[in-house]
């Protein structure tokens, strides 16, 4: 009987000179079958899209200097550059509005409102140290059009589906983009143990083997990694 299997694929360091679909085809195509789902780490997709910037190249506004002070230190937006990058991506007035409402919501015990209102990039920006060298000295934005990327991967590899995922070792997984027909929440559950590993393992691609077979057998609601 086929079992769900998570198969990480090692690559060289991918840069903004690479096309993510070409690279997945180069490194993973031979292992990918028609029943498989190909998932790729969102930060690597963003890097190949050139969605990175150096702190040294950024202009910091007064508002970013103030607002970053109100973000707990664990968050990427707690640094002045993380905050500025969120403002550059989503607009400084939107971020200010989200911060004010988020603070008021926190007073009444509701957390997470800031990130709901500030826009997707505010939640996706990785501050410096967020990725491996040579991008450890850069801020990395969230990827552009993750659904489109996932669809392009599926078309190119002829697999069952593809996904762009944001997963870390803290048991947090979010699937940002999927090809048509896939359930992002189900995929997030499958990827929750971070099969991408840490950055130095250089495995930004994970093939979810036999996904379609198990889904067709009616196990779609309870797929779990073996």
């Amino acid at each position: 009987m086929s079992e769900l299997e998570l198969r990480p694929v090692r690559t060289r360091i991918l840069t903004d000179k690479d096309n993510i679909v070409d690279m997945i085809a180069k490194y993973a195509k031979e292992d990918v079958g028609p029943d498989d789902v190909v998932s790729v780490a969102e930060s690597v997709v963003a890097i190949t899209q050139g969605r990175i910037t150096r702190p040294e190249d950024m202009k910091i506004c007064f508002l970013a200097r103030i607002l970053c002070r109100f973000v707990p230190q664990e968050g990427s937006l707690s640094s002045v550059y993380g905050m500025q990058s969120a403002m550059d991506a989503e607009g400084q007035w939107r971020v200010l509005f989200a911060m004010i409402i988020g603070m008021l919501a926190k007073v009444i015990g509701k957390n997470g409102v800031f990130y709901q209102l500030a826009g997707t990039q505010a939640a996706l920006v990785d501050d410096v140290t967020g990725t491996m060298p040579p991008f450890d000295k850069c801020l990395v934005y969230g990827p552009h059009d993750p659904n489109g990327v996932a669809e392009a991967i599926k078309q190119r590899l002829g697999c069952y589906g593809a996904a762009v995922a944001d997963v870390n070792d803290l048991k947090r997984a979010a699937v940002l983009g999927v090809s048509e027909g896939l359930d992002p929440k189900e995929l997030a559950r499958i990827l929750i143990d971070n099969p991408f590993g840490n950055a130095s393992q250089r495995t930004p691609i994970v093939i979810i083997k036999n996904y379609a077979k198990l889904e067709q057998k009616g196990q779609g609601g309870s797929l779990s990694a073996q």
Binding site: I66, R69, S78, V128, T129, P133, P134, K137
Partner: protein
């Protein structure tokens, strides 16, 4: 007019409150404790080269977490002062050893720190390193090494330098210690 005064008063109160909050919050503050560094020891000695290393502790003594984005040693031995050796140096964390002189950006929460290893390699221009370093000692040439580090935290990035001195006496002592050990 009264309404305007109320608005201005509120703005002033909010601005002062934010300023006080930021002032009380503080920021990261890194210190490389060169006065607590270990003595240089000889790592490798060949006919042409001598490689030394020492360890320097550092700490984020500020009130906020901060990131060391980059750090490297800058040795200063101008040929006007002594022209008998070529020098190269590198720095790495003891917890993340590497030999490429690349410093991977790393976060340190307040009150935490670590240790860096500074490695200095001398290559004799005349082919005999013991003789070259001996001349350096005769001329009383000490070599400053700046630990240069780039910090980013709540405030915009900045570069700071902390200077340590690799004395010619320390170099000779390390070579003698190596000879005795062998």
């Amino acid at each position: 007019m009264e309404f305007l005064m109320i608005v201005v008063s509120i703005v002033v109160v909010v601005a002062v409150a934010v300023w006080l909050f930021i002032a009380r919050q503080g920021d990261a503050e890194f210190e490389f404790k060169v006065e607590e560094r270990t003595k240089f020891i000889v790592e490798e000695l060949t006919e042409k080269t001598a490689t030394f290393s020492c360890k320097v502790p550092f700490m984020n003594k500020g009130s906020q977490g901060g990131t060391i984005m980059d750090a490297y040693p800058r040795h200063l031995l101008p040929c006007e002062q002594y022209d008998g050796v070529e020098v190269s140096s590198r720095m790495e964390l003891t917890t993340a050893p590497r030999t490429d002189n690349y410093f991977e950006a790393v976060i340190f929460t307040k009150g935490t720190g670590g240790t860096v290893v500074i490695t200095v390699k001398f290559t004799a221009k005349n082919g005999d390193i013991k003789e070259a370093l001996g001349q350096m000692h005769e001329l009383c040439v000490d070599m400053p090494i700046d630990i240069v580090y780039q910090i980013v935290a709540r405030t915009p990035w900045y570069i700071h330098k902390t200077r340590m001195i690799m004395t010619c006496g320390e170099i000779m002592s390390a070579i003698q210690a190596k000879s005795v050990a062998e």
